[in-house]
Amino acid sequence: MRPALGLLAFGIAALVVQSVAAVHLPAALVPNLSLLVAVTLGLHLEAAGGLVVAGALGYAADLFSGSLLGQHALLRALTCAGTRLANRGLDLRRFLPLAVFAALLTLSEAAAVGGLTQLFAGRAVFDRALAAVLGQQVLVNALAAPLVCAAASRVVRWTLPEESTRRSVRLAPRRPVI
């Protein structure tokens, strides 16, 4: 419970930082922190808790965005679920797989945002001009993903009770001496 709350607070703080950073930097150069936090939720929390926190975080992202209320909530929950599935086959705690996964996720999210906006609001989000923005976003998110994941790991470690952070030592059964 504590790691979930800790990551929720971390995610909301990341949203506020992202929103303020976008005032001072070009939009394409600001990493999509809420998306990357949703990835860390899939890596650090158990399935149900991760989905709930990701949904809540996405809902908060919808308030800071011109998107429809619920659009980011759906996408963050799917991101969290997708991360859990991908983590079964790939070791997403390592730099390269995580960076590649974040890049693919950015592309998928852009497609999903376009599809949902078209479906619910009847307007197109993307054209050729936004393709360049998307390319920069892919790169920025891929580079930022390992950093966000490392920060989230720290948050999880801080919030876990002390006993659970101790490593359990597995003792090999004593072999019979002949």
């Binding site: 303020v20 005032v23 809420s34 949904g55 965005s65 011109g66 659009q71 909530a73 993307f126 976003q137």
Partner: protein
């Protein structure tokens, strides 16, 4: 049965989230059409976020202003002397104009006209940008408590910024002119060629106009036409940067550079008026207070 539910809790939860968010998107779309006011949890979260964002924004803003001021100091002395000379010239010129107007009795008429047409404006600070790069909106630190309502135009001294689309008691979200959903009826100031200025999602705008000879040229100023009842007439929208022949014979497109620098948007003004179209679109949040009472409030 209970074991089955426990085993399937994750797929059930995911399905519930998909369903809930789908309903939320549909109802939000309807709310946007009827009334952009936020309530409940969403309002609470925005109310908390705005002061936090203002606090976070402060050191960044101070650093940026500090740097630009330092750079500006280099040429400040010369600039100061030049401006002092210019002010003296203008003051003299102004005195002559005033004298002439008072003499002809026009000044009183101008004062009356200002009282009749001037729209009260509420200054607001931009405390956050859209967290999604695919939408273009900003978060403002003024809301319903300061008479800001959905459908009100947002401007700066340079020109049109956008439109308020959602409000809480102390915050408002404004859709920028750059958003793909944004569209303004506009005219070219020189030739009066009329068309629609649309957001493209990038830093550029698109002006779609009906071809009548060589009506639109590079460098032309584009202003609001007042038609459509959203923005008042005569506000600057941008400058034509390039004219492109469209595929259709009657319609051409021009690329327009916005008058407002959206990358450096900090202070804006919400015009405390809603055009007739917006009043019809947004229903149910009551009449605006009289101009006098708006100006009196802090």
């Amino acid at each position: 049965m209970r074991e089955l539910l426990i085993r399937l809790r994750v797929p059930i939860l995911l399905a519930a989230i998909v369903f809930a968010t789908g309903v939320s998107m549909l109802s939000d779309r309807r709310a946007q059409r009827e009334d952009g006011e936020r309530g409940g949890w969403s309002a609470l979260l925005l109310e908390i976020a705005v002061p936090v964002q203002k606090t976070l924004e402060l050191p960044l803003s101070v650093a940026r202003h500090g740097f630009s001021r330092y750079v500006g100091l280099v040429e400040l002395h010369d600039e100061n002397e030049r401006l002092a000379r210019r002010i003296a010239e203008l003051e003299e010129e102004n005195l002559q104009y005033r004298e002439a107007l008072v003499e002809s009795g026009h000044l009183q008429r101008i004062v009356e006209m200002r009282g009749e047409f001037e729209t009260p404006m509420r200054p607001a600070q931009v405390v956050g940008q859209d967290v999604s790069p695919w939408f273009r909106s900003v978060l403002l630190d003024r809301g319903r408590s300061r008479d800001v309502r959905s459908g009100m135009p947002v401007v700066t001294d340079r020109g049109v910024v956008g439109l308020v689309t959602a409000t809480t008691a102390h915050a408002a979200r404004a859709m920028l002119l750059l958003d793909r959903e944004s569209a303004i009826d506009a005219v070219v100031q020189r030739s009066r060629a009329r068309g629609i200025v649309r957001g493209t999602g990038t830093q550029e705008l698109e002006f779609v106009f009906v071809v009548r000879g060589d009506d639109v040229r590079e460098g032309d100023e584009v202003i609001t036409s007042g038609v459509g009842g959203v923005y008042p007439k005569g506000l600057r929208v941008g400058t034509v940067r390039a004219v492109e022949a469209g595929e259709e014979l009657l319609l051409h497109t021009a690329r327009v550079e916005p008058a407002v620098d959206f990358g450096r948007l900090e202070q804006v003004f919400v015009m405390l008026r809603r055009g007739p179209t917006m009043d019809l679109l947004y229903s149910g949040d009551g009449d605006l207070p009289a101009v006098a009472s708006v100006e009196e409030s802090p």
